[in-house]
Symmetry: C2
Subunit: 68 residues, 2 copies
DNA sequence: CATAAATTTATCGCAATACAATAAAAATAT
DNA sequence: ATATTTTTATTGTATTGCGATAAATTTATG
């Protein structure tokens, strides 16, 4: 499964979800859904905004975990 | 911008697009589109299949490049 | 505690987009 | 040359993102 984990980078940047929301320009509701891995797909434009806001790479946020 | 680059991992695994297509279960046409960064979004389920097929992480395929 | 602030969850609607199916064109290999 | 592989294009359908909004829940704070 693919895991979206924004929390680590948020902590690293000492940034709140509210601030991320402002920077990314999505609604708070959707940022929250994204943040908690409750989306089934993601627009690359959105991924880009997040990477930009958190100054990180997709790999810092996305993880593929084999299910055993 | 977000760049999708599957070529590096394909080369590393000595795998053809045809084989990737078989493993991933999409049509050849769509794998090609994905491979050449001509999609605007991606299903996490698809990303997962690719990572599984290539035995790699999303970060091996996706790159955020700041446009200067 | 009580209350405010932040975050998550839920619902509806629409637009955007993936992806299949298919065919044709182009590139590459043999 | 010819076969094989890969890319590009087109159309239709199903999926999904995301906004807008409101309610519920969690967390912070005086």
């Amino acid at each position: 499964m693919i895991i979206i984990n924004v929390d680590v980078m948020l902590a690293k940047r000492k940034m709140s979800v509210t601030e991320l929301t402002e920077r990314v320009g999505l609604t708070m509701a959707n940022v929250s859904l994204l943040k908690n891995g409750k989306v089934k797909a993601i627009k690359l434009s959105t991924l880009e905004k997040i990477c930009k806001a958190l100054d990180c790479q997709p790999g810092d946020i996305l993880e593929y975990r084999r299910d055993d």
